[in-house]
Symmetry: C2
DNA sequence: ACTGGCGATAACAAATGTGTTATCATATAA
DNA sequence: TTATATGATAACACATTTGTTATCGCCAGT
């Protein structure tokens, strides 16, 4: 029986993607994860967030399921009504 | 003689743009400003940064002169070799 | 005056994101 | 079961960013 790899193993497979690519993917996963967390913490549905942010529900769904890499103004529009914004931080500051 | 408004005055003109719009513009200015600072602090030209980041010089120039609103992966690709990344932070954390 | 590097920009093609409308499968409540 | 709300997705037009190549004006150094 074939052992299926975990997602983490998949992501860290050297032959799958370059280190830079993996780094970018991890970055996006973390970013989108925080965005989803923020929305759910406010108890908002995608449709409700769409209304108050001005970004349409299908666009939000595409973002959250990572079908799409948002533009920073779209990300800003979505995050702002959730009480968050985007900031540039030194890489070392990653806690 | 007509008094010319400062940029700050221009940006804060109530009749010019909505508060939300102004907020977005200020956000972008701050973001791009930090990006330029980071590049110059490393003593890199746009062409050099283009080489190590994989983002072409015209694209970087368009970002820095705000002709364009980047996608987050483009911003990430540019910031990463400069030792920075993007993070989601609470609005209150603005110092 | 010339040279070289700088950022900005033009022009066009290619890639990608977003709006729009509608629908889907699923889960939950009545 | 029926109704309702959810997130995901399809399909297409439209808008925007990015790549590509080339060039521009400017400025510092020779």
């Amino acid at each position: 029986m074939k052992q299926v790899k975990t997602f983490s193993e998949y992501m860290n497979d050297e032959e799958r993607v370059s280190p830079a690519e993996r780094e970018k993917i991890n970055f996006e996963i973390e970013l989108i994860g925080k965005m989803i967390e923020a929305r759910e913490q406010k108890g908002l549905s995608q449709r409700e967030l769409a209304e108050i942010s001005g970004v349409k529900q299908p666009a939000i769904a595409r973002l959250e399921s990572m079908k799409t890499t948002p533009q920073i103004d779209t990300l800003f529009k979505v995050l702002n009504p959730l009480g968050y914004t985007i900031s540039i931080v030194p890489i070392n500051a990653k806690k």
